[in-house]
């Protein structure tokens, strides 16, 4: 069974540019999460999809971030325009059930550097 995949693995952009990150969850997983880790800090929650619906987007830092999950399969996270403080590693995770005991399985992350 394929795990969670993310693309690209690395992205280097200049301040003011746009970047789109993609996540493909484990097949059949309705729940998809985005998290971010700024260097040396904790991993912070961004948002949670159940199928194509946003269940919880309370962690999104501001309206420069837009997440979509059309069709309830893969998800994209767009940052427009990017700022220096957006640099970090963006992780995607998926889980089968919405229950609080369920395990989330993470992808390898996308390392975003904004210059």
């Amino acid at each position: 069974e394929a795990g969670v995949t993310q693309f690209p693995s690395h992205s280097v952009i200049e301040k003011g540019q746009t970047v789109t990150l993609r996540c493909d969850p484990i097949s059949g997983h309705d729940n998809l999460y985005w998290y971010r880790r700024v260097m040396g800090k904790e991993i912070k929650f961004l948002l949670h999809f159940v199928k194509e619906s946003k269940q919880d987007e309370s962690g999104m830092p501001n309206n420069r971030f837009l997440a979509e999950r059309t069709g309830g399969t893969y998800s994209t996270l767009k940052v427009q325009p990017a700022e220096l403080e957006d640099s970090g590693v963006y992780f995607c995770a998926s889980s089968l059930y919405r229950g609080s005991t369920d395990t989330q399985y993470f992808g390898p992350g996308t390392r975003l550097t904004v210059l």
Partner: protein
């Protein structure tokens, strides 16, 4: 509010010696607790979780963790460390019964096992 503290940024141990990576948490109600590991250039891998029952939880690669409710701790342990255990370890918590799936992570602890 829910939070996790990993008081040690770095833990160093000799191969063959026991290792402990510390984690304390704060949550409203009962906690569900998780440990993840990140090897270099890899994503987060699930190690183990505590939901209910026996306070000693066994996980992958010979790791185990002990839930201590009175001390609000969930320390990760291994009786005999291997050089290949060197990685970044994250503790995470979620409140039992929460309708939200988000995990709250600590800052991570870098474990180095030297030969």
């Amino acid at each position: 509010a829910q939070s996790v503290a990993q008081p040690e940024d770095q833990v160093n141990v000799a191969e063959g010696n026991p290792l402990t990576v510390k984690c304390t948490y704060s949550v409203s109600g009962n906690p569900y607790l998780f440990w993840y590991v990140q090897y270099p250039n890899r994503g987060l891998q699930f190690l183990l979780k505590y939901i209910t029952g026996d306070n000693l939880v066994k996980g992958s690669y010979g790791f185990e963790a002990e839930f201590n409710k009175s001390q609000t701790s969930f320390h990760l342990k291994k009786p005999s460390a291997l050089v290949s255990d060197s990685a970044l370890y994250f503790c995470a918590v979620r409140a039992a019964g929460s309708t939200l799936g988000r995990l709250y992570f600590g800052r991570g602890t870098q474990l180095t096992v030297w030969p």
